[in-house]
């Protein structure tokens, strides 16, 4: 079912304006477990996801998908959703049209996707007047309609209140249950534990540690991760 994974990063570095943001990251993402990219602000989480998704080109190193047509089989949801000035439904329809889906199938897929995220009632409302939480759910509906094999989420709940966060997390679990590989960045330990199967811990642009979620929290292997977990727990 998953034709484009594993995704392999080989010695990937990214620098901008003379600053190295990602430094020689090598890893492989397999189908199945939900992967959490964890790290402090400025650790390079967003940039790493953009490199994986292809929005940025690595300064050196290689990002390689396994299958053909990987571009079309992945989607990304950003921290701040960007909606076109048209109805919620039309925003989903636009994504389907761009993906080359026939008009006859678009309506069913768009309606299903809006249903899935609980926005069927507001389908005809202008997307930009929806609340922040609703807009983020609409961003997820837009991704859902495309049935991606991989879904990247860049701190999708960073701007949302706890109620909206819970709704978003429920939808992310539904993606996982439907067989989509979830790759999500967060700095929230609670969210990592609720949604993740494994953690890639990023520290100053380097992948400092990678381990299963049940191992990572009680026993982080690297001193950086240990300090981060300890520091975050002090606030939790």
């Amino acid at each position: 079912m998953n034709a484009i994974l594993p995704l392999r990063l080989e010695e990937v570095s990214f620098a901008a304006g003379g600053r190295v943001i990602i430094e020689r990251v090598s890893l492989s993402l397999e189908a199945g477990p939900s992967t959490i990219i964890l790290g402090a602000n400025g650790a390079g989480k967003s940039v790493l996801m953009r490199l994986m998704h292809g929005l940025l080109a690595p300064t050196s190193g290689r990002v390689a998908w396994s299958g053909e047509g990987a571009r079309r089989r992945q989607a990304m949801v950003f921290q701040r959703p960007v909606m076109l000035r048209r109805s919620a439904y039309a925003n989903v329809d636009y994504a389907l049209k761009v993906a080359g889906v026939q008009a006859a199938q678009r309506d069913r897929l768009a309606t299903e996707a809006l249903e899935e995220v609980g926005l069927r009632q507001v389908a005809q409302r202008p997307a930009r007047v929806l609340s922040g939480g609703e807009q983020q759910r609409l961003a997820l509906a837009r991704a859902w309609a495309l049935h991606p094999e991989v879904l990247f989420l860049d701190e999708p709940t960073a701007n949302l209140d706890p109620g909206a966060t819970r709704e978003i997390e429920t939808i992310i679990k539904a993606f996982d249950a439907a067989g989509t590989k979830v790759v999500m960045s967060t700095h929230s330990l609670g969210q990592a534990r609720r949604l993740g199967d494994e953690v890639i811990f990023l520290h100053q642009g380097r992948a400092a540690e990678r381990s299963a979620i049940e191992r990572f929290f009680p026993h982080p292997a690297s001193p950086e991760a240990a300090a981060f977990v300890k520091g975050e727990l002090a606030w939790a």
Partner: protein, 231 residues
């Protein structure tokens, strides 16, 4: 002076035929020029905003310089192009309303393109990642953004219309201010004022102001309504 204003008002209010012919031609010329400049200027502005092509910087410099070009210079340039000895002389367009449309299009295009470029560039900064993530290419993305901010672009088009309807130099040179053929509001005002016929000049002046006000009010209402509707 008061007399002149009053008879100007009377002229405008009684829909004097001669006056309305002039008003009609003015509107036809300026609206055609703005329509043409919009058709060319919006895609051009969007291309500059979204595209990264060689010579982009040069296009920007030229565009910005052209924005401040005096209408008489544009008129002179178009005059040379259309004059019998000029490269487009065979078309026989000099001293026709078409020539005036061409001159005003040249005058207005840089304004519309430059304002569209700025608006699209701002929007593109917001949309780019999302659109690229969805797999939208540059051209399609530019069109999507243009359509999405179409109500903000009304301002750019209005600025163009303002310049077209207010200028006198370009239409005077390429149109020749021929009575009944190429005489428009601004050239009439200039002519009648120099002749001392203030009522007609004032009447036209008031009509001109009223039209510009009405267009701006309409555009503002469209923008507000769109903002409420689409956010």
């Amino acid at each position: 002076m008061l007399d002149a204003i009053l008879s100007g008002l009377r002229l405008a209010a009684t829909l004097d035929l001669r006056l309305w012919e002039i008003v009609g031609l003015s509107l036809a010329v300026s609206l055609s020029a703005v329509a043409l400049a919009t058709l060319l200027g919006l895609p051009l502005g969007a291309a500059i905003a979204v595209g990264r092509f060689p010579g982009r910087q040069a296009v920007i410099v030229v565009l910005n310089a052209l924005m401040g070009l005096p209408p008489v210079v544009v008129g002179l340039f178009v005059y040379l192009l259309l004059s019998r000895a000029g490269p487009l002389g065979e078309l026989g367009l000099l001293f026709t309303p078409q020539a005036m449309v061409i001159a005003q299009t040249v005058l207005v295009l840089p304004i519309i393109a430059a304002l569209a470029w700025q608006a699209v560039e701002d929007a593109w900064r917001e949309y780019e990642e999302q659109l690229r993530s969805l797999g939208v290419d540059g051209l399609h993305g530019a069109l999507t953004v243009l359509w999405d901010i179409r109500f903000s672009l009304v301002t750019a088009v209005l600025a163009g219309l303002g310049r077209a309807s207010a200028e006198v130099g370009a239409v005077m040179i390429v149109g020749g201010n021929i009575d009944g053929v190429t005489r428009v509001m601004t050239t009439t005002i200039a002519l009648e004022t120099s002749k001392g016929d203030l009522p007609l000049a004032l009447g036209l002046g008031m009509v001109l102001i009223a039209i510009v006000l009405a267009l701006n009010a309409a555009a503002q209402m469209i923008k507000e309504a769109a903002q409420r509707r689409y956010g």
